[in-house]
Symmetry: C2
Subunit: 311 residues, 2 copies
């Protein structure tokens, strides 16, 4: 399968510009190494806040893959800044920052030679991140799962709005599961894509089968945004628990996550809110990561060829 | 400029598969004829409910263009079914139906030789419309302005979800203002696009300059969804008036529209809710319709060629 050559794949040193999203507790060595080994960019999370465990996971990656991988620094959730130096010391070359202002960490990371992308949910946030000196942007459409800006914007609008105005590479997040959505993101100016829910529901994902089954069973209308009049908003799977919270002016999201591991790994779908994107409606099957990436790239090329018939 | 050849342009008899959205009060002969004359598909609205005026507008079209145009039948707002026969008698060849179940009107329209597309906001609605026998679908992503399903889905997810499962042509609505967004819609399986907010803010749009200026001044985060826990939900421009209604469990949308003409044509932006899509954040200039269409098609071909460099 022909590698994709662009600024992003050169910068990241990967064959395919497919980045795995940094889902808390889930984006650990088992999943991230599968993505890296398949030619994409596996990412280790920090949003769980479990920095000791995460350090072990980062070290494990060396044994599981000789391909590049990255670490997400979820600024609002990382209480111990020593993780930055740890990431540098471990020779990690790619960091995505999110959930906060990247200005403080961009300097040390770039001085150490790392590539730093920041996750942005709006045009204004993109401009701020560029002023902070990031190497690229992860532009997060509101269709994606997880923590969201309460005034979110869809990928179809946000991606070209940002990509047309910046000179650094853009990775599209939100709504991407396959080659046609990847080609759409590229049409809108992205040079790479990030997949969250698609990776949560992969064979190598460590989450309980009940959550994978819920994703496969979900319709297009089975996610919802909690806390949309407060912050952070959250795109979650529609369950009895989240339905009951839908109209709450302010959801205590920390309380909602107190038992998240009972859901993620215990399979109790009512124990917490399951962070899930609208693409749950499109996912019909659990697949190994390598198959997801291969099918995505194959369909990406097919889509480009189909569009080329108009030229 | 090379015409686009596909099932949709053949079916509609247009050079470019760009359909103007049927905005109430706005989508009348002045705007619709500009779109048709520029090679797209102009549409006359019925959602204003002003059927006598609309009949005059449909007749006017014959004087203003010799190109194809269509009429939208907004099922929930059309109280007098004689409009159907009027449309047939006037020789209109394309009807889009929306805001209701198309089953009752598809039969008579198709028997009279018209092409009928139905507007759908979900996968389930798409399946119902196909069962009713429509010729095509207008798939409406939640980023678009106006009446919305309270459980809306973004174009990036909804379009491929539907387009991959159906054999009839799909028109993408929601998030489209230019050639890169049109190419993205095509990557996702659409064969045409519909533009609403871009046409509201065109030179030929009859709305007050204040609304056009508000669209040009809007950021990506300056629209919002009202009535999202009830139905119909509405994507509107964020104003003092709409901000105050944001958390209302049930907005009396008929009351909100009582003075809509004071906003649309009088320029009082607080008189009613201004139905506006997220693309307001991307629109920077009032342009003539012919220029919008020409630039869209030019950029569509450029985008396809840019993507082709990966093949």
């Amino acid at each position: 399968m022909k590698p994709i050559k662009n600024r992003l794949t050169e910068l990241l040193g990967v064959d395919y510009p497919i980045v795995q999203a940094p889902m808390g507790w889930i984006a650990r060595a088992q999943l991230a190494s599968a993505v890296s080994n398949a030619g994409g960019m596996g990412i280790i999370e920090t949003s769980s806040g479990e920095l000791d465990n995460i350090k072990v996971e980062i070290k494990k990656m060396r044994a599981l893959t000789d391909k590049p991988f990255g670490v997400n620094i979820a600024l609002a959730f990382v209480r111990d800044p020593s993780i930055i130096q740890f990431v540098i010391d471990q020779g990690v070359q790619f960091v995505s920052t999110s959930a906060g202002n990247p200005a403080k960490v961009v300097g040390p990371l770039k001085e150490a030679g790392l590539t730093v992308f920041h996750v942005v949910p709006s045009f204004q946030a993109a401009m701020k991140a560029i002023a902070a000196g990031v190497d690229g942007l992860i532009v997060e459409g509101n269709e994606g799962g997880g923590f969201k800006n309460p005034r979110g914007v869809a990928s179809m609008v946000l991606l070209p709005m940002i990509a047309k105005k910046v000179n650094i590479p853009v990775i599209a997040a939100g709504g991407i599961i396959d080659g046609c959505s990847m080609a759409a993101a590229f049409a809108l100016g992205a040079e790479g894509v990030q997949m969250g829910t698609r990776m949560v529901s992969s064979a190598e994902s460590p989450v309980h089968q009940n959550w994978k089954d819920a994703i496969i069973g979900a319709s297009d209308q089975d996610t919802m945004v909690l806390n949309q009049f407060s912050s952070p908003a959250l795109r979650v799977l529609r369950t009895n628990r989240t339905n009951a919270l839908e109209r709450e002016a302010k959801v205590d999201f920390r309380a909602e996550f107190a038992n998240v591991q009972d859901l993620y790994f215990g399979g109790d779908m009512e124990a917490a809110a399951a962070l899930t994107g609208q693409v749950a409606g499109r996912i019909e099957e659990v697949k190994p990561v390598a198959q997801i990436i291969e099918e995505t790239i194959t369909e990406f090329y097919e889509t480009i060829n189909r569009l080329g018939m108009h030229s």
